[in-house]
Symmetry: C2
């Protein structure tokens, strides 16, 4: 007997038939004698519908009320899922985030979990009931309903796995697991049987859309291993867990490509102390998340600075930079939208050399021009032209032996 | 400055434009300096949609999960209504039934309010915020979400009016108020400016669909006067309040017609002590609510018994009776679906005589044959053929001077 947390996203519970299918999956585990906690999202599309309705009332709706609105989506799913289990003769009980004991701070629409009080939930498990918890939601100390931000249901699942000391946490999604690269772009990409938190974290934040980085960070912090797997077949997925020494034998675990970036270059910027701080303060106040940053040493008292931002934020970023340059009294801004960020990731890099050379050689062979380079302990990222990026991704994947390993 | 509870039903908050209109109505009162509590239902159609989805998963869904499911409907409306007020520059905060302090027993889908703890709500009012409460829902002592049954939002409003000691409780609906008869059937029906709880109660339970009897009972018990009025115009509605002596001058306040009844007749029933108890126990166990009952004294050791049931329950009632008759060892059952119940109501009847005679005369003039008669202190009801009922209603309305008073 094991205690298992199973999380199903919006597409897995998209309609009545999907919900019945999920109930069958759960029943199979119950029949094996396992204790099951289920975390579900809103049916796919529902959250966007609710947001659209809110925006047609107020283009900038207040955060507290957005939370109150959006939790309705998950609440519908938990009730329907509990009914589907009852219909199969399985005892089940639904719980809101608050009832499941997910306590958060008061930051509406992006609350952070501060503690877990899972006694009520554990009591239900011990009385042989499946507990179905609304993902994405929590409650603050004053009893106000909060939400954990987009992708928050994964976070709910991992926090609950920690809270009930689960043996296993399974994140069901529409992909089989984590691949060495996006299989739609690299036909030879292979599914990984396991991956470390840190590698997953870099892949998650680099455009591999399996999970949000926040959930992986949380699982890393509290050491909650989890499995990413598909709800549409019964194939084992990818286990995401603490690093083990054998993982270091693989130098590069995967290659990620992020096409959702734009490049901002500021030229002729007055080169004096505090300039960079002024620029990035201004961007942060405009709520623009800056990713890679490169600054060249200036000549003639001017500097050139380049950074990347999410492509959706380009307008906001450019407006913010214009106003910063006015304050600084100089500089011109250039935007380039059609770039892509390619990254190789692997904890083996820490102990192996030659990764950068191999990457640059592979890119050179495909005539992809490198515009920016950025490195960390377990990853190397380059910005290249978007038009070269698919070809480059395949070449790099092959160069690191990921096609065949 | 007054403290006002305003309740808006599903059609009043049916879509985004309706919700914006409701926000305007509320703002007008806020601008006058009033403290406002708003109770809203789910958008019209949403509750039925959710029920349909539940039934497609499990034809007989478990009550606890139905409650969890259905409250999602109101939760959406309170958030959208709060946003609409924010968009108009009015400070507003939404609350679930639990947050508003509506404490109930544990009877899911038909919970009864056991206490009100409105401190949090009053604090918000005193800090000049409009409070928008999800109608129809409450919470039991263990924190389980409950619902108050169909029409429960009216009950929420009246309970909150009591809980916050409101000066006024306004029930907004799609009719202008309470009429002497259904204006669609009696063109000369007039709107009443006031009516006593007891009269309203009889009218509510007799097929005048303005409010559910339970809400009126509650307002009577706790003496919470309320106004029934339209959300589509600014015309004063009908005040429902404690009886005052001047009300007795009007002998008949209104005439109600209920076409949603069926008649069940049992003939040749063994006439011995306990027979009636066996019959009505059996019906109660089959969850059939019996309305009017008549029994004729039997000849040759048999009795004839007639009663009415809601037309939707006819199948269930007839099945229950068949099985009861088997137990009793005799009797035949006959069903008649096309009947109508016509009632005249007025607290003045207590002190005036001749009401029954006038009623029977009016019915005789229209050739409507009376099948059953039943009387109480403030009402006389008769069952007649449904085909005669519209004509009879108009004649009785005229006979009691309600056309012109």
């Amino acid at each position: 007997m094991a205690r298992i947390v199973k999380k199903f996203g919006g597409t897995s519970v998209g309609d009545v038939d999907c919900i019945k299918h999920v109930a069958e999956l759960i029943k199979a585990d119950v029949d094996k004698g396992h204790e099951i906690v289920v975390v579900v999202s809103a049916r796919s599309g529902v959250t966007n519908e609710l947001i659209a309705r809110a925006k047609s009332i107020d283009p900038d709706p207040v955060d507290r009320e957005m939370d109150m609105l959006l939790v309705a989506g998950e609440q519908e799913t938990i009730a329907l899922a509990a009914m589907a289990l009852h219909a199969l003769g399985v005892k089940a009980v639904s719980m809101t985030g608050a009832m499941a004991g997910i306590m958060t701070d008061t930051s509406h629409t992006r609350a952070r979990i501060v503690s877990m009080d899972c006694q009520r939930l554990v009591d239900c498990l011990e009385s042989k009931q499946v507990v179905i918890v609304a993902g994405f939601q929590g409650v603050d100390l004053e009893g106000q309903i909060t939400t954990l931000g987009r992708g928050g249901s994964d976070l709910s699942a991992i926090a609950l796995a920690k809270g009930v000391q689960a043996d296993l946490c399974q994140i069901y999604t529409d992909v089989d697991g984590v691949y060495t690269a996006d299989p739609r772009l690299v036909p030879k990409a292979r599914k990984l049987s396991e991956i470390s938190y840190e590698e997953m974290l870099e892949l998650a934040s680099l455009g591999t859309k399996v999970m949000q980085a926040r959930s992986v960070e949380f699982s890393n912090k509290f050491n909650v291993p989890f499995e990413v797997r598909s709800s549409f077949n019964d194939i084992p997925g990818t286990i995401v867990k603490e690093e083990v020494s054998s993982m270091e034998d693989v130098v590069v675990r995967g290659v990620a490509l992020d096409k959702n970036q734009a490049k901002v270059t500021i030229t002729n910027l007055p080169d004096k102390p505090g300039t960079a701080a002024t620029v990035f303060n201004g961007l942060s106040q405009a709520n623009v998340v800056v990713d890679m940053i490169v600054q060249n040493i200036g000549r003639n008292g001017v500097a050139n600075m380049t950074f990347t931002v999410p492509r959706d934020d380009t307008g906001r970023a450019s407006k913010a930079v214009e106003s910063i340059l006015e304050t600084l009294g100089g500089g011109e801004v250039t935007l380039v939208g059609d770039i892509a960020k390619l990254s190789v990731v692997g904890i083996g890099m820490r102990t192996h050399s030659g990764v950068a050379e191999k990457l640059f050689a592979a890119l050179g062979d495909t005539k992809a021009n490198i515009q920016i380079i950025s490195t960390s302990e377990i990853k190397i990222s380059v910005v290249i032209d978007e038009n070269d990026s698919d070809r480059a991704l395949q070449a790099v994947h092959k160069a690191f032996g990921l096609d065949t390993n």
